[in-house]
């Protein structure tokens, strides 16, 4: 199987980085909601669908996507449908659910546009939830721009441990972004409190 763009994967080409940055800004913030929506479908593995969506997003021109969230949901819907088509055995109930639930992705959502500042506010909330060592490593590596080797020297731990902490940090971030009940910022009211950054907990 030929994998498009594979050679770029471990390169830090500007095109790849721009795509990754776009995904982190416009797709990752909606992942929790997407997983919550997908959880309603039967006979699918939510992780599989999400991973397939990311793989497809890598190959498309994201510049033309005006509403990434809606696009993501539509794409996920198609992946679910394909999954059902591929499946040899599928319950009638699942198909019935699919017809009903798939309507939802076209419905207007208060999350259609998560403004950058609100998403950053979410991230700020998340960082406080990371394990302390992970947080130290992530901040030193990503904020201060230290290499993993420098981080190991700063914290007095081995490079192997730093690498493991990076992976652990990614797992923690993954859990946080996957959680549909995580602290989520909602668009603020347009009148009365212009520009106010408000965080609420979705329940």
């Amino acid at each position: 199987m030929q994998v498009a763009g594979l050679e770029d994967f471990s390169d830090n080409s500007s095109g790849q980085n721009a795509k990754i940055e776009w995904l982190s800004r416009h797709i990752i913030p909606h992942e929790g909601a997407l997983r919550g929506w997908l959880a309603q479908f039967r006979d699918i593995d939510v992780d599989d669908v999400v991973q397939e969506c990311y793989a497809m997003l890598l190959d498309i021109e994201t510049d033309r996507i005006r509403t990434p969230r809606a696009y993501l949901f539509r794409m996920a819907r198609n992946v679910v449908l394909q999954s059902y088509r591929r499946a040899r055995i599928i319950s009638i109930t699942a198909l019935a659910d699919f017809d009903t639930l798939s309507i939802m992705d076209d419905a207007p959502s208060p999350h259609d546009v998560i403004e950058a500042r609100q998403e950053l506010e979410n991230l700020h909330q998340m960082v406080t939830q990371l394990p302390e060592r992970c947080r130290q490593v992530l901040l030193l590596r990503r904020l201060e721009g230290l290499s993993q080797k420098q981080v190991s020297e700063r914290l007095g731990i081995s490079e192997n441990i730093v690498e493991k902490q990076v992976a652990r940090g990614l797992r923690a971030l993954s859990r946080l972004f996957s959680d549909e009940n995580r602290v989520t910022a909602r668009p603020c009211p347009r009148s009365g409190s212009r520009g106010k950054v408000t965080t609420v907990v979705d329940r």
């Binding site: 990752i28 993993q148 990076v166 990614l170 212009r194 106010k196």
Partner: protein, 332 residues
């Protein structure tokens, strides 16, 4: 929650390890081949790898927004001289804490202190005035305790025969009493901190307030015969006519005292006000040339001595253009 959810998706776990490994150093040929093979094995592997990289990119923005809040600013620590002062030229440099009294005075002379001035005192009393003119100023004495002056704060320190006595003339300070009681006066409000007690005090024009952070502190206002005992989280305000005391939550205390940790914590503060506060602490100023941006509100924790990082966050959040020059930082 299922066991799978607790443990995480195994494909994701492998992807995280690859991203962590790639972040450490360039992959060797064998590793590169192994990654390629794994990615070609299944489209989900590829998706998981891309997702892991996107999460890693999010971590960068997360760190930027965090504004180094978990990296405490290392403040120059100036020993608090309790012996008679010697003439010293003043400049602010980083010094190390030392407990030996002789080396302590030598250090004070060598390092100097920003804005320190000698004032006449009675024969039994040595008095000094400290003003933090270039960021925070930390005074330390093993016996007295710690005094942290906020930018612009003006503090007179008197050493009488008894307990040390401080007069806060302007601005705010954070006090932690050492092995002796410490007295603080400001605008008619007088407080006595017992050993190890801690408070944040502020003196403005004609009014003063203090927030008790630890210990039981006695407070007395001008004209009062008896005072009152304040406890942790009590906030007393006095303006020569009225005195009020109320309880403050730990969250609010964290916010109000953020500056003493080298941070500024904003909660829905107008950008124009936030910039003014950041500018107070820095010679490198942020100039705002965008009136719309000034009215926006921002929340977050920021390093008070990193205006560039703060400007970058504003640019990130509100899409403002940032111009860096030797003269300062312009947002428009």
């Amino acid at each position: 929650m299922t066991g799978k959810e607790l443990k995480g998706n195994p494909v994701d776990a492998i992807a995280f390890e690859w991203v962590a490994r790639s972040d450490r150093a360039p992959l060797h040929d064998a590793e590169r081949a192994a990654l390629k093979a794994w990615l070609e094995q299944d489209v989900r592997h590829r998706g998981a790898f891309i997702r892991a990289r996107a999460l890693w990119a999010s971590a960068e923005r997360l760190a930027a927004f965090q504004g180094m809040s978990s990296s405490p600013v290392s403040l120059p620590c100036v020993p608090l001289p309790v012996t008679r002062p010697l003439a010293a030229s003043v400049s602010r440099r980083e010094t190390r804490l030392t407990t030996g009294r002789r080396s302590f005075v030598r250090m004070a002379i060598a390092a100097g202190m920003a804005g320190m001035a000698l004032v006449p005192g009675s024969p039994a009393e040595a008095a000094r005035v400290y003003q933090a003119r270039d960021g925070l100023m930390h005074l330390h004495d093993a016996h007295w305790g710690d005094i942290l002056l906020d930018q612009g704060a003006l503090l007179r320190v008197r050493e009488g025969r008894g307990q040390p006595c401080l007069d806060l003339l302007e601005g705010q300070v954070h006090l932690i009493a050492g092995n002796t009681d410490m007295q603080l006066n400001m605008n008619g409000l007088s407080l006595v901190l017992p050993r190890a007690a801690s408070l944040m005090a502020h003196a403005g024009s004609g009014e003063s307030d203090a927030l008790v952070m630890a210990g039981n502190i006695s407070a007395r206002c001008a004209g009062e015969r008896t005072g009152r005992l304040l406890h942790a989280c009590d906030w007393i305000r006095y303006d020569h006519r009225h005195v009020s005391i109320k309880k403050v939550s730990r969250n609010d205390i964290d916010r109000l005292t953020a500056w003493s940790r080298g941070l500024l914590e904003f909660r829905s503060v107008e950008v124009v006000s936030a910039i003014a506060q950041i500018n107070r602490y820095n010679a490198r100023k942020i100039a705002l040339k965008n009136s719309r941006l000034g009215g926006e509100r921002i929340s977050g924790v920021f390093s008070l001595n990193d205006p560039e990082a703060f400007a970058r966050v504003l640019g990130e959040i509100f899409g403002a253009e940032i111009l860096m020059s030797s003269g300062g930082i312009t947002l428009r």
